[in-house]
């Protein structure tokens, strides 16, 4: 089980409280699709996501970004139990959605970059280290039900 110091817990909470899911969610998923274009293959039902302009304007992308960050909220609220919290989600991504688990790390990287753009100097090295530890735990939990 991942161990968290009190400082790490409060850091993750503080970072999470300073972002707006409705604002950051769309931005995060747009970044993933633009920076790592092969991820577009997972969103065939979203319509036009084949140019930067289309991605930035696509309402399904925006809505799904919010869905993803709402799920991240569950991890923030259950830091001592992220693996169990995400067991069903991990199984879904493995068995039904057939998502390559390497993509979870790409999404985590885009989340970190979006948060850095928002927090700027407040994302100092220690905050970055803690936040990346948290997202690594999330990524590991998302991979946990893959064979």
């Amino acid at each position: 089980m991942v161990k968290w110091t009190d400082k790490e817990r409060s850091t993750v909470r503080t970072v999470w409280e300073s972002i707006d899911i409705d604002e950051l969610g769309p931005e995060v998923l747009r970044r993933v699709l633009i920076v790592y274009p092969w991820t577009e293959r997972y969103f065939g039902a979203f319509g036009d996501i084949f140019t930067t302009t289309a991605i930035l304007q696509n309402p399904k992308v925006a809505a799904h970004g919010i869905v993803v960050l709402r799920a991240l909220d569950q991890a923030v609220k259950n830091m001592d139990n992220i693996k169990d919290t995400y067991a069903a989600l991990s199984r879904l991504h493995f068995e039904k959605l057939e998502v390559d688990p390497d993509n979870f790390r790409l999404l985590a990287d885009c989340i970190t970059i979006s948060v850095a753009c928002k927090l700027r100097a407040e994302m100092n090295p220690q905050v970055q280290a803690t936040w990346q530890k948290f997202l690594q735990a999330v990524v590991d939990a998302m991979c946990a039900q893959y064979y």
Binding site: L56, T112, I113
Partner: protein
């Protein structure tokens, strides 16, 4: 050979003209040493790296961060021949410094976060994508002379 569009060339030039080398270089290297502590083993001659505060105040870390960024500026000035530009540097890191090439990605990840924090909302998804492509070419060039 890597193909760059006009947009990509001007975006990279724009990024390098906006960032403060004396801040970004040291910040990226010290983050790397803090967030990925095993990288400290490469800097035995730098003195006190025992905690985040020591790393952030260490003048040798700052000086070397500036050296790294100057190296990146060389890539920016020679975007059509980054591989050739970095051939000697790659040989140096492989044969003399014995650096595990996986660490190049860690440093460029920290650099992306620092630049994102510097540029804030100007670090849009398109700018992020171009910067990531540039850093990927840099990393590949640094890996090139390893066996």
């Amino acid at each position: 050979m890597v193909v760059w569009t006009e947009f990509e060339r001007s975006t990279i030039q724009d990024i390098f003209s906006k960032i403060n080398y004396d801040v970004v270089g040291p910040a990226a290297l010290s983050r790397c040493l803090i967030v990925y502590p095993w990288t400290q083993r490469y800097f035995g001659g730098f003195g006190n790296l025992y905690n985040a505060a020591a790393i952030m105040e260490n003048p040798k870390v700052a000086a070397h961060g500036r050296v790294v960024l100057k190296g990146l500026e060389l890539a920016q000035k020679n975007m059509d021949s980054i591989k050739a530009t970095f051939a000697d540097l790659s040989k140096l890191h492989s044969e003399k410094l014995l650096v595990d090439p996986d660490n190049f990605k860690l440093l460029t990840d920290c650099l992306a976060i620092v630049v994102a924090a510097e540029l804030g909302e100007d670090f849009t998804a398109e700018v992020h994508a171009v910067f990531q492509k540039f850093l990927a070419v840099v990393v590949a060039s640094l890996r090139k002379q390893y066996y």
